[in-house]
Symmetry: D2
Subunit: 324 residues, 4 copies
């Protein structure tokens, strides 16, 4: 999976299924539709299946939606509602339990700024319940949030900052938002993955080495991610595959040429990719030009979904009033 | 001290001395000059003296300098050097000991953004020593930093965020930078206070309720502050005093009028101030129009001073190279 | 009017009326209420009246509203609707006419950032009508916008930038948004002034020396301003007045003391104020601590009002969809 | 040149030379070295040559330097000095002539923010010469600057904003800074192109359709650009070429297979690329993860070079003092 990195469980599963022509044991897949929004739940039930797919055991709910544009607030609202529904199911904690919302990523790099942009839009209430308890109804959940920055800015592993905070603040659950890397361009900025298995160390836009999950933090961790980039190596890899497929289609089966194409192995491909991406193999990301407006739109969609899910006793209008 | 709030120990001491015509017991004051920069050390030796002045026991070094302008990089360098010297004395920790630099305050409010602006300019090395130890010389101190935001943004007391982080990262000392409130306009943006007694809960620009000091964090805490505002109540208070002084000078001693002026008490003054500042008594700050450029300049001066002090084996040129 | 600067016509008129116990000739005042929102129209009909009040001839509509808080989206919507109504009356241009929206002020200084924050939220359509005419309905007005920065950032008078742009783009009308200075704290962040007389050179937060009005630009100019600061000199002035009033109340009429109080003249007051505000007389502003959230809220209120007014064929929902 | 877009004249020339095994008529190339910095001047002398290369007639000086890292302030200073030297030659205007510096690009998209980041660091003096002539020496050139934003933000063509401004301010020359697209990854963030032929409408990061050059503005225009991205189509194109080259090397000349490889034409390649980059063909950019720190470093290098070049009577120390 070297050259085709994905942070999405659904893509890891799709690659396995395509290669092996069957579902992996220990993996259950369920699909639903909400108009033109597709909701796929990939449940990884065993550690072996998790290892095979490179994702820890758990539930991964993927929300695929049509491109969100400047002109389509209706689709945005529908996606927020789906995010709300999925989160409510995963959170499952009474309204007096405290939520900590964490925006991962680097606010200085547009495609990595999704997490911090979401936290700016979260309805923060924990301090109000302490400072002016009368102003806030009992039915409002205490919510706090932080954007801890990235290793290069702070010199501290993101996981360490969060671990320290969780030990002090003792939230009942944590919601992390992060920008991800997908293996397919068509998913970039069109997919939201929500999972209860935390954030694994990976090759998203940033690099969060220390795992952020229930095991490391001691409380439930829900991770929300959106692929905002594809790694350049993936583009190069796919291009090679496509060229070889194309040539294979043209070549007569059994010829020397056909054999040569079939025998092109991973090592050879890796060398070609390295040559193309030299000198920065592995650190190049592919992202659309209009990434700023898309990240802003997506951060609203996700923040709305989170706000509704963690404040079940408020409707969108109450939340908007509060946020202004 | 209601209407004349100050975060500066030197001003609290000056007010005491003016009122009582003598130095407070348990307070030692020492003055030095470095060209046109004045360095005053106020040492509060007893808890009683601390209580009287409203500042905890400890050393408070105040650096007063001429206005820093666009055109005077030389003065800026001299002030940085003084900050460096003062810090080196207070830190007194071998170069392998880890430093945590904390930028307090709200990055969205210009006069409160000093702390976050300083941390942006700190040479962060802690992660490099872990990730690529060969690239970094042993003589470089591990340094990390954070701007935790304010209560209204995160819903978490700043002190809690820092306490949690200190417990995880285990730095050997902490340097906090914060914007302060002074009682005199002439000190605004022209004074740096450095102390080893931490940051007390106060009425600076923000409100950091939980004490951030050696007692609460378990490691040495050095606080660096610059008054960037004066409270509006202080302006009103001073105006009243000045008017009464002026009238008293004109009145004949012993007349009814003179008596009336002398008998104007604190309660009466408070009522007048409340009337003027209504409806926002206590939450109004006075700050110069060009606060953005001044805060930027001061954050450079302080960051340079900190970088030199915590990296005694590097000179300014090494640090600049690193930071670019 | 030295020490009590105001950018608000209504305050200039109120000061005149208070001092002279009558309305100024050439000034007409009309008041309406919309629930708890007060709408006052001050019409300055003659150049003489304008000179007396320090404001050019024209209509000044002042919208006074209760404090806008985090918790009151309903009031915000009502204020936006009033802004919309007032603007529609002043604009009076068919929907195919082009609007240029200009955000004046310095985005680096929170209380001066109102204008730039409004332009970020304006529905910009002019380019879409050129680039993809099919996507945009004929009933949508072409709108463009700019935040030209301030003299200290660009080295160019704001008026010059706008004049140059107007000559190229040839809009049919211009809407300018700026942060203002009021003479009363109770108006800060609670008043919106809309006028058809342009922006006069003044002492708001920034300093825009070249007039921006129909005469200088050649097209109709509508100015929207919110006082976000009071000048420190105004606070000092008011304090002096209050102290003298208070003492006068206590003194017996006819005594030497009473005479002294009555004879305290403007020169004397100015000297006192200068002494208090030294060294920065004239450049100090008083603003609430939570200026960041208030400016953000007000920028939404105003942007919503503008968007509705310049797009009469769209409702708020259409506009929100477009803006996401 | 569809799939291998470049904004760099040197790359367009290299592609021509490689394909045609000779220099294009009307093109003169000169190379110099300054330590490890390579300075290549491509002079396009005829309109025909310009058309062939897709670049207007003029001088294009390309500065190629080793990767600039956090740790190498020395190289940064050397590159700034080279930028200074090249600019001085192109500007050739006495010190009393006014300069307008324009930062093109979208400040919200990190790889496109180079221009705005440079203008923030330019020593702006034009207003000082007007407002406080005594403070500024006669030997200081009047300099003003602006970052006009992009079409999507303002609804106005960047060229229109600049044209309007030039007509008002009447500068003697204009320096534009923009982020570019190169065709080779190894040039990304390692090359500065300076030319006297203006900015052509192109496919850099943004899209500036109206030409910004001496012809359109009526004054000399010097353009400074740095490639911060490569288009994804270029990566795909290069990958295809590399795979075919590789297979060709392995195939025996004359075989059917060899012929098939040789006959793969541009149309076929384009279709493959479209398939890979679907659905966003043409709008995808490839950029390194650490783009934020690199753009910041490069903006310093370029701003220093510009400041030195336009202020020949000041040294770097004077400029730094002024800028703080």
């Amino acid at each position: 999976m070297n050259n085709v990195w994905t942070d999405l469980a659904i893509e890891a599963r799709d690659m396995y299924t395509k290669e092996n022509k069957r579902e992996l044991d220990g993996v259950i897949v369920d699909e639903e539709f909400e108009d033109d929004i597709k909701i796929t739940t990939v449940t990884i039930e065993s550690d072996e299946a998790g290892e095979e797919l490179g994702k820890p055991k758990g539930n991964y709910i993927t929300i695929d939606f049509p491109e969100i544009t400047h002109y389509d607030g209706e689709t945005m609202d529908k996606v927020s509602k789906v995010v709300d529904n999925v989160l409510v199911r995963l959170i499952d904690a009474p309204e007096e339990k405290t939520a900590l919302v964490v925006g991962l990523g680097n606010w200085n790099v547009t495609p990595d700024a999704l997490g911090p942009r979401v936290t700016e839009k979260i309805m923060v209430t924990r301090h109000l319940k302490q400072v002016m308890p009368d102003a806030i109804d009992d039915s409002v959940r205490p919510v706090c949030c932080i954007s801890p920055g990235v290793l290069g800015i702070t010199g501290i592993e993101t996981g360490e900052v969060i671990k320290g905070l969780v030990e002090r603040v003792k939230p009942d659950f944590v919601i992390c938002i992060d920008a991800l890397g997908s293996r397919k361009l068509e998913r970039v900025n069109r997919t939201i993955q929500i999972s209860d298995s935390g954030i694994s160390p990976g090759a998203g836009v940033g690099n969060h080495r220390m795992k952020i999950n229930e095991e490391s933090l001691g409380v439930k961790v829900i991770a929300i991610g959106v692929p905002t980039v594809v790694h350049a190596a993936t583009i190069a890899n796919d291009t090679i595959d496509l060229v070889i497929d194309e040539l294979s289609r043209q070549a007569k089966s059994g010829t020397e040429f056909y054999k040569m194409l079939s025998s092109m192995d991973r090592m050879e491909k890796n060398n070609l990719i390295r040559e193309i991406l030299n000198p920065s193999f592995g650190d190049l990301m592919v992202t659309p030009k209009e990434v700023d407006t898309v990240v802003e739109s997506l951060s609203k969609v996700i923040a709305n979904g989170i706000n509704m899910a963690i404040q079940p006793n408020l409707d969108m209008e109450d939340i908007n009033k509060f946020m202004n």
